[in-house]
Symmetry: C2
Subunit: 236 residues, 2 copies
């Protein structure tokens, strides 16, 4: 089935996946006129936008206070073969403080270790408001994508947001064979997967440092249709 | 023995290692005033400076033509556990064309696949002239290093450069048990290691996508002393 995708569809699929599974990214900011790249922890917001938990004391945060423009590189972690032939994406835009408690909860769900410092006065969640997207899928495979096509629905998903804990608990209650069917095709190797987050277009799983993305056939905007989509994937 | 290193010594050791084993880095350039991060292939020059093979057509190369300032993030690949608790380094400086044939040979030795395009008219080797070094070893472990302490001797190593092929052939001719002693402590798992490059302070090995660094107890500036140092490491 994947063989039938056009190059643009492949770029879109791979970019969506990078947004969802990336745990870190290389963030470039303007540092007194010069560029500066630093490693940052990242989590995807409901629509796929990168969320960060940054200290005011960090140099990149101070840079962003002076000039909010940033560029974020997300790469395929743990890929085999030539890393320059693996998909990666550069997202350009501005990084702005993001007080939404649902986004904060989302960050901490995926990065439970961040609870150690998330409440310190100098830490706050920030979000990259994506304006430009450069996908590079490897040699001879580059595409520009639009924000409209890349981002997942997030405007009309209040019921999904309210049901997040409930739905993720249902995922974690799946028996071993149901979970195996769910990750078939998106991950190899035997692992104990746990839910890491959800959105209208799918589900993220983690197992130690490994991450896997289960993509739905169509978006689900409320808990009933999200359960439907999950059932489709479990029943394969 | 490693336990006895001071934090500054650990930072220096880890940074030297990152310079030598990194196969890719996140390069930030200035793109019409905004930052841009892209994934680039990287190889260490004799002194440890990052070398790139870039096309004039690439956006980062065009950016560098207008403003040579750059920032390069090198991370620990394939590390286990929290990636934000792994050593990484950000190198700041300027990227300039580097016509030295020894550096070019060095690039191609480590990236044999680059021979496919290295001779195209738009490709040339460039080098990051490092001015600033920010090491981050994980939570609460950050250090500023100086170029003088970080870089390996490279001014007086003409004999070593001339003998590179010969010395690397000697490494590749080591028997299995000698090679195993050489990589003991710097890599885990059974692999078929091959030489990837050398410098005054040690030897780089590769096995498929994996890289390992063998560090000498003291710099070797000519072939005779390099053989001595290698022997010490083989005999452990």
């Amino acid at each position: 089935m994947a063989d039938e995708l056009t190059p643009a569809q492949t770029a879109l699929r791979d970019t969506k996946r990078l947004l969802r599974v990336a745990r870190t990214g290389a963030l470039a900011t303007i540092d007194g006129g010069a560029p500066l790249t630093t490693l940052v922890g990242v989590v995807s917001d409901w629509d796929g936008s990168p969320l960060f938990l940054m200290s005011e004391l960090a140099r990149h945060t101070q840079n962003l206070a002076a000039d909010a423009r940033a560029s974020l590189l997300l790469t395929s972690e743990g890929g085999r073969g030539d890393p320059l032939n693996q998909p990666r994406v550069t997202l350009g835009g501005t990084v702005i403080r993001h007080a939404d408690p649902h986004s904060r909860a989302r960050y901490l769900r995926r990065n439970p270790k961040a609870k150690l410092y998330a409440d310190f006065a100098d830490f706050a969640v920030r979000r990259l408001w994506v304006e430009t997207i450069h996908f590079n899928g490897g040699f001879g495979r580059a595409d520009k994508l639009t924000v409209a096509e890349l981002m997942s629905p997030a405007d009309d998903i209040a019921d999904l947001i309210a049901a997040e804990d409930e739905l993720l608990a249902e995922v974690d209650a799946l028996d071993e064979s149901a979970m195996a069917r769910l990750v078939a095709g998106v991950s190899s190797g035997r692992r104990v997967w746990r839910s890491a987050g959800l959105d209208a277009e799918g589900l993220d799983l983690s197992a130690g440092g490994a991450t896997a993305r289960v993509e739905f056939s169509a978006p689900a905007r409320d808990r009933a249709s999200w359960r439907e989509r999950l059932k489709e994937r479990v029943e394969g």
